[in-house]
């Protein structure tokens, strides 16, 4: 009885690691010319539409300068946007009653009244406000500002029309103090102290027991600063936009008036008298007779308009200042191209019967899908990022070279928009792949993904759906991920028409992308389950 040795191949076992699988899928992807072309088309179209939008915006800016103002300002020399210490555009124009403060010191005051006037009911833009009413973010209080130049650093304690006492600093900083409205019966005491670069804000209801609201460090604060009393009264935003894109529901300028007393100061105040006026010398407001400082029997009245806050692109459609987000509008066409490629990356396997070879070579089906998702996701990420980068860089460059103004964003925001767009396109590619595994049909997969992401985006952000429905769609559908393209953040301390039509999404950028990722994970789960269960 002889032992029979079974035959053993002398060829070495090939490695069957995940790396090999990735390499196999990558080879499939890169050797189909149509798919590579599809990805390149996605990049070119995304960037191309951005350039088109930039080209279409530039001449409008020239026109509106020519038509709108008789000042003879040339094309592109419109009013420069003021930038704050953080690089974001700001509004820095309010009624300021000030004296220089040399070195350390403090200022304390009591506010006994803050009243506002609303624009007339007929809503004529630029009309003088004449109706008493509430302006939620009217501001009156004390401020320490590093200089009078627009956009300079500051810290302020203030009473507001509808948001209680606040400490605000450097335009975007905002901390709440005592709640409730100011009146003679319930006055508010405010105090700011300067110690080197540090400014501390206090409030009090009675002038004896004080609580700290915020401690702020203003880097590079000069030794002599401007300090004093101020009043600001921001423009009211419209409450709705109608089908034709025209604002409705009472927007316009407001004016506010505050009464102070018990003013006391410590430290060195070399000037003997108070200077007063708008920080930007606002002729329009002064022409209307709004903006004044009166002092009688220890009571100081300061009346003013304007605001000291982050600036937002103007909400009026057609007149809006272009944000970088406009140049990314081509993303949705890029998405379609990528979705078509991702679909075919899967459905071609079924159509040609290649899936049987694929699964014979690598029987662990979940890993096959993971490798495919990685390959198509990485290619889509590259395409999306490149397209967005091209759109933003070339669009902004073209707009600047044609003299149009682009609403500036700090660079981390632009980076988030570009990389976020790449991530959006990549996740959509993976979602499409998963849907293609589930439905196995190209047309159905492309249409399902399109209907899930582009249609809700279109209905909410372009077509004007009722605000509640638009908000819901952009929270729960995969279209929520377009939030990564939001340019200007929503500031709670600035009242504006925050709606998808004006470029504000209901979810935070990465939260929106997380919604899309959630849908994608669910689809991937279904795809793995079906791929394992079903016969190829």
């Amino acid at each position: 009885m002889t032992a029979i040795t079974p035959y053993r191949s002398t060829t070495q076992d090939a490695r069957d690691g995940f790396g090999q699988l990735l390499h196999a899928e990558w080879t499939k992807f890169r050797t189909v010319r149509g798919w590579v072309v599809g990805m390149i088309v996605a990049v070119l179209i995304t960037a191309g539409i951005g350039i088109f939008v930039a080209a279409g915006g530039a001449s409008q800016s020239c026109q509106s300068v020519g038509e709108g103002s008789a000042s003879g300002a040339g094309c592109g020399s419109g009013p420069a946007l003021t930038l704050g210490p953080g690089g974001e555009p700001v509004t820095d124009n309010f009624y300021f009653v000030r004296q220089p403060l040399a070195g350390n010191g403090s200022i304390t005051v009591r506010v006994t009244s803050l009243t506002s006037l609303l624009p007339p009911a007929g809503q004529v833009f630029g009309a003088t406000p004449d109706r008493p009413g509430l302006v939620p973010w009217s501001k009156a209080g004390i401020i320490i500002k590093s200089s009078l130049s627009p956009g300079s650093a500051y810290a302020a304690m203030m009473a507001t029309g509808g948001n209680g006492v606040r400490m605000q600093w450097n335009y975007t900083g905002d901390a709440p103090g005592l709640p409730g409205a100011v009146s003679a019966a319930s006055p508010r005491w405010l105090r700011l102290t300067r110690d080197g670069d540090t400014i501390t804000g206090y409030d009090s209801a009675n002038g004896t027991s004080w609580s700290v609201i915020g401690v702020v460090r203003l880097a590079g604060l000069p030794s002599t600063v401007q300090a004093g009393l101020f009043t600001a009264s921001p423009i009211l935003a419209p409450k709705a936009v109608n089908v034709a894109g025209v604002s409705q529901g009472g927007g316009g300028s407001t004016a506010s008036s505050a009464v102070f007393d018990h003013l006391s100061r410590t430290g060195a105040w070399p000037a003997r008298t108070w200077a007063d006026g708008y920080t930007e010398g606002d002729q329009a407001a002064e022409a209307q007779g709004i903006g004044e400082y009166r002092q009688a029997a220890g009571r100081i009245t300061v009346t003013g308009q304007g605001d000291i806050a982050p600036a937002l692109p103007q909400g009026e459609p057609g007149l809006s200042e272009v944000t970088v987000a406009a140049y990314l509008i081509g993303t949705f066409v890029g998405l379609i191209a990528v979705a078509v490629v991702a679909t075919m990356f899967m459905t071609a396997e079924y159509r040609r019967g290649l899936i049987r070879t694929t699964l014979a070579a690598s029987p662990r089906r979940g890993r096959v899908l993971a490798a495919k998702a990685l390959v198509v996701g990485a290619a889509a990420f590259a395409a999306g990022t490149l397209g967005a980068l091209g759109a933003v860089l070339l669009g902004t460059g073209l707009a600047h070279s044609r003299g149009a103004q682009v609403f500036p964003e700090p660079w981390p925001t632009e980076l988030r928009m570009i990389v976020g767009t790449g991530a959006l396109v990549a996740v959509v590619a993976v979602l499409t792949l998963a849907v293609a595994v589930i439905v196995r049909r190209s047309v159905a997969a492309v249409t399902i993904v399109f209907t899930a992401i582009v249609v809700p985006y279109f209905l909410s952000a372009i077509l004007i759906l009722p605000a509640g429905l638009a908000d819901l769609l952009l929270r729960i559908t995969p279209a929520a991920a377009f939030a990564v393209q939001q340019a200007t953040p929503q500031y709670p301390q600035v009242q504006a028409y925050y709606a998808p039509v004006s470029g504000f999404y209901p979810l935070a950028p990465w939260a929106g992308l997380a919604v899309l990722c959630g849908w994608t994970l669910a689809a991937l789960g279904g795809a793995v389950y079906l791929l394992r269960r079903r016969d190829a």
């Binding site: 539409i49 939008v53 409008q60 149009a404 492309v446 009722p466």
Partner: protein, 258 residues
């Protein structure tokens, strides 16, 4: 020709998907329209919508399914190789395309009529409860009203034209995924780009030439003088796109090897 029509009808009729997709197009249109109706309000601050257009919003979603039906009618033949049998049996290629266009157009007209009637009915039932009532100057939607009838008939024709556009593009590019991507991109490109282009001349031109936005002017019943085109001119633009796509598709079918 009747032979060709009969052959194409048999192919289309016996595909399992056709009937379901036609039903889905109608159901989706009605469902989206009803959802938008139910989410709209007309408060004391004033109404910000055109009720006829509002109640036909679903057409914008239903058209995607219509495009699928049309694309599949031709690309299905290419993916299975059936096209070679078809063209061997019926060598006159323009006739084949003509027969397909007639049948797909006819089926979509039928489904579109159902979809639009359902949407108008939903609007008639839902909108008065949402504030679009006589008290605010809105009579209930009625097809007896000239502009509403025009909006409804125009929407049905619009859906049929979208089907022809998709059929033409599908014939030209042959692959179903590419064709549907092309159709959907083409439809949505113009309105989305127009929404961010600042130059008002460009914006107006984009709104005038887009197959979707121009065609949907046929749904407007209010503020007609603010539209860049009259309703029927708008539908004419869509028709021109459909003819152009069919022409290109026909030429490719005629000149290129199947």
């Amino acid at each position: 020709m009747s032979q060709t029509l009969h052959a194409e009808w048999t192919k289309l009729r016996t595909l399992p998907g056709t009937g379901w997709l036609l039903l889905a197009a109608a159901a989706l249109t009605i469902a989206v329209s009803a959802a938008v109706d139910a989410a709209s309000t007309c408060g004391p601050a004033g109404c910000v919508a055109d009720p006829a257009k509002l109640s036909l919003t679903g057409v914008q979603v239903g058209q995607a399914v219509v495009a699928i039906i049309a694309v599949l009618a031709i690309s299905g033949e290419y993916s299975t190789g059936m096209i070679r049998v078809t063209l061997t049996a019926m060598p006159r290629r323009w006739s084949v395309l003509g027969a397909k266009a007639t049948l797909v157009g006819g089926l979509v007209l039928a489904a579109g009529t159902l979809a639009v009637l359902g949407s108008v009915l939903a609007g008639r039932l839902i909108l008065p409860g949402r504030g679009f009532s006589l008290a605010h100057g809105y009579p209930p939607l009625s097809l007896g009203d000239g502009p509403v009838l025009r909006a409804a008939c125009g929407s049905v024709l619009y859906l049929a034209l979208i089907a022809l556009l998709a059929l033409g593009l599908g014939t030209a590019v042959r692959d179903s995924a590419v064709a549907i991507g092309l159709v959907l991109g083409l439809l949505y490109l113009f309105p989305i780009v127009a929404s961010v282009v600042g130059n008002q001349h460009w914006q107006r031109h984009l709104e005038q030439i887009g197959p979707m936005n121009a065609g949907l002017y046929v749904q407007a019943t209010e503020a007609l003088n603010t539209l860049p085109l009259t309703p029927w001119q708008g539908l004419g633009v869509t028709a021109a796109w459909a003819c152009g796509a069919l022409l290109i598709g026909g030429l490719v079918l005629r000149l290129k090897d199947a």
